[in-house]
Subunit: 327 residues, 2 copies
């Protein structure tokens, strides 16, 4: 890009107010330099959002920035990591200040909320896309991985499931409902909160965890595969919001379908030993985030869906088009 | 992307042979987990290469992979950092195995050479682009920054300058020359080596350093700005290869023009106190990389070009089209 275009971008990135003590050198040299406290691992995650694939080119830039950073923060939450630093690779077709201003405002607002500092990146000319690499800190030995689930553990999810998928159908004009209800569900699709404080609080308690970016069915399979266990989920235990049930006209089965396949929730799914139920309750009390037991870890290698303890009589397949992949 | 497409990509990424002991968790979870030794900073750099901006869409994928990783490694070299980990965000229009195979082969060949492990990333569908975030390790207090040059220091560059720019003019068919000579210069454009061992050896000796990605004139200005000093470069001291002089038909001034503005060299420019000349010689002896003193750090705030101690009588501006920016 031309030098004056760099100056414009520099102006917007300079809006960052946050300066962490562990950033020895930030933007402006060949590399950033960061300091890692003793006995901590660095958790690293990279995600790209590409216009035309993950969002429409004319999407609200503030929402694009939120989604890019929130989905990455959610990966840190899923590891039990505390956010620290982020690098932003931004490819833009043109320097459009009407796009950059709300993008940067939204980006830094969320970054400040989670105390994560922009330490570098690259700005290039080309088709619109955003790639973030976020880094967080987690005490050695306390990271939440996908591979630690043990037979006998309980399976939990945070929050409610399905609201994001319902919001997406409204955005895509596939469904219509009462305007107030629609507004709530669309907001939940666009502005789901990464569960950082939950992830931090689950250190030493959860045996496995991940975030629900592809829907609980698709994601729990990752725990099944990596932990080499079976998992049973009882659909009657899925946490459903009053708004989702209203959106489904009281059709509980339809709401359960949405809850099973809804992606981009940023809710965490985790397993924990039954013996740690009280410790879990105590640890999560301060987060004000609801959590629900939705199943059990068993011996085997499958994911099974049950309804009140019996095999499910209906198919999930008809709802595959709701599965939003993160790639 | 569809699940079977992920499997194809996974197959190519699984070719990685390198497993560092400090990677506690690699690809396959929400985040990678890495371990940082005590008293070390982590150096972090992100660069994007976008098809149509930084390379042609039909460029050799092996060369694209080399350029993407080498230019990032060069940023680590410029900090005096030892490469450790890399994240790869790859956006592809389609899953083309004829593209992926040479890309991955070249990527891992270079990664193995510098002992840097791929720890994660994202693969998405969209216009071809590559974003890498590399991370390296540098002992606390020994990083080479742009801001430490002191009045009286000598100014050095590694290797020869200008070969990359000459190679680029040949690639772009702007010039022609003897085929053997062309082959050497084109190779130097595509396959310049990041100066990792030089960067590591300059710890404790160099007062400032950066890599020459935009040409020595453009880049030395960064040291001028960040160190708040003046720098004088004598163009007669610029290291010119025999091939560059042959390419210029013996026109020394034309060779100097190319040397001043040639980007993507991956050579390092650094400053060091005159009192450390012997230490510098001893430190760099094992690297087998030549280095040349090209100027002095002075009081002031400008970059001046001299010829045998007198102001330059010719203009650099006519060669601006050779300046290759890294954005």
């Amino acid at each position: 890009m031309a030098k004056n275009e760099f100056d414009i971008i520099k102006h917007y990135f300079a809006q960052q107010q946050l300066h962490r003590d562990d950033v020895a050198l930030a933007i402006g040299d060949d590399c950033a330099l960061v300091d890692v406290p003793a006995d901590h691992y660095v958790a690293v995650s990279t995600d790209s959002l590409v216009a035309g694939t993950h969002f429409l080119a004319d999407a609200d830039p503030a929402l694009v920035a939120y989604k890019a950073l929130a989905s990455n923060l959610s990966d840190l939450a899923a590891m039990g990591a505390t956010p620290a630093w982020v690098s932003l690779a931004l490819t833009l077709p043109t320097i459009d200040e009407a796009w950059l201003a709300p993008f940067c405002h939204s980006f830094f607002e969320l970054a400040n909320q989670y105390n994560i500092q922009l330490i570098g990146g690259d700005t290039t000319k080309g088709p619109l896309s955003i790639t973030l690499t976020v880094q967080g800190l987690v005490p050695r030995g306390q990271a939440l991985t996908r591979s630690g689930a043990q037979v006998g553990d309980d399976v939990y999810v945070t929050g409610n499931l399905g609201d994001s998928a319902a919001g997406l159908t409204l955005i895509l004009n596939q469904h219509h409902c009462d305007a107030n209800l629609a507004s709530v569900l669309v907001e939940r699709h666009f502005k789901a909160s990464p569960r950082i404080s939950v992830g931090e609080s689950l250190r030493g308690i959860a045996s496995a965890a991940l975030d629900i970016s592809d829907g609980v069915v698709a994601d729990v399979k990752h725990i099944v595969d990596r932990s080499k266990v079976a998992i049973e989920i009882d659909v009657e235990q899925l946490p459903l919001s009053a708004e989702l049930l209203a959106f489904c006209g009281g059709d509980r089965q339809r709401a359960q379908q949405l809850a099973l396949s809804s992606g981009e929730e940023y809710e965490l799914c985790f397993t924990a030993p039954t013996a740690k139920r009280d410790a879990l309750k105590a640890a999560l009390a301060h987060t004000n985030v609801k959590y629900s037991c939705i199943g059990k870890v068993k011996a085997g290698s499958n994911l099974s869906l049950l309804q009140l303890g019996k095999p499910l009589t209906w198919q999930l397949s008809g709802w595959d088009h709701f599965v939003v992949t993160n790639n």
